[in-house]
Amino acid sequence: MPEGMKRFDYHRRTLLKTVTLGAAGFLQACRASRDGLSEGEQFADRSWSSTPDQRPLMRFPEKAPLILLTDRPPQLETPLHYFREDFTPNEAHFVRWHFAGIPTEVNVAEWRLAVTGSVNRPLQLSLDDLRHRFEAVSMVAFNQCSGNSRGLFDPRVPGGQWRHGAMGNARWTGVRLRDVLDGAGVRAHAVEVAFRGLDQPPLSASPAFEKSLTLDHASGGEVMLAYEMNGQPLPLLNGFPVRLIVPGGYATYWVKSLSLITVRDTPLQNFWMETAYRIPNNPEANEQPDHLTQDTIPINKFAVHSIFVSPEPGEAIAAAKPREVQGLAMDYGAGIQRVEFSSDGGRSWSDAALDPELGRYSWRRWRLTWNPPAPGVYRCMVRATNRAGVTQLQSQWNRGGFHRDLIEHMDVRAI
């Protein structure tokens, strides 16, 4: 690093420290008398392991009150009850950013999406260009954070402590990435396409968030640039004005507030592809806590997984009275073929009914009527299988808390 830049960094850091200290002091002074809670109660959210969800809710712009994981940058989880709807409302769709420098202001008149790199005709596309120069398409696609359900891994792993709410289902409208790449003319030696958004790391030295797809995947016709979510512009926190849609793939690739698409002749080698978001190189994304594998790959397609939506954890139900049990099952696009339910800890299983499919890349709702015969605690479990025969695991763990495909259980009390 040149000497001048070093000095600049030093001064900037000192300034930042001073400002931060001042701001922190001010914020704490403001909050000292708040709520009458003790310091410990205000700070640590340690009630976490109890069954009902008692995590705090917080309302962000354009969003409903969502479960607060972190406020800067925002990481907000969707409360379970929203999953009773087939399409997650935009205001309830989960939020996850990596760096505090997230876009809070976009002037569409000035916003441009650059398409550059190994192309014959570099492009600078406005939102109107996307709307009018390319065919508009729409698709129902399920979106899910790589670390969804991380908070349920045992042993626990560090990272965003999500339960099952880092996911949502939406109808996305926009254009095919393939059409845009065709417009730019991809050169013969290209192998990958990389994506950046408007978010910025807080330090200039931090690795900017950039993800890549293989050229085959990017130009396969399914990957989209979406400017609408459920018929509305995207909330800023979900990637206004345009985000990448990678059907069947984890949300780490669904780059938000897109600004730059680079066609590459070499694979992207950065922190976000080579170090972060990696899973053990086996179909189950499984490893042992005391024998971590060296063989890892970038996370890619969604796991086969299923969850309970109703009853909710901690909800007591009536004994000797039939009631509907329902939930959601999801995979990477082969399609959910079967969902089974157990109320005796996995000793016996019965088939749930599946709602009609909403699209190949949608989640799929399952339901059945269950009559707990007598008062007591029932260990309920749910297991999905897709059309490729892929099903869920009895035990699964990896150090990143990624790619959850464990069979979920819930202890339901009948009274």
């Binding site: 962000f60 095919r176 016709g221 399914e222 926190l237 009609p356």
Partner: protein, 128 residues
Amino acid sequence: MRTIWLVSISFAAFTLVAYLGFRFAPPPVGTLSTSLQPRTESGEYQRIVLPHDEPQLPPGPGRTEFATNCIICHSPRYVSMQPRFPRKVWKAEVQKMVDAYKAPISEHDQAEIVNYIVAVFGVEDGRR
């Protein structure tokens, strides 16, 4: 009378066929479908103001180092939302901030930050 019966039966048959067609239709073919006319707004402008709700930092050794280094970049909730991890996990997390995210934290401050997190949110030993 006969006409009414015919009409009723036809209607029932139609309803049944329509229902079956809907209920047992094959999965949608192709995942993309052409949407309605694109909308043509211009001059759209989006601006939001982010709220903050950053928790208080309980007293403890290394609190100043934590406050001056860590919360420059992120909310303390990144730490407070975690379960009580042992020292070795927190040490690795702080090291990741330095190695991966290039946080300019001196070795002295790194040690103090680990001490603080372990004292307030962690445990010395234990399973991860």
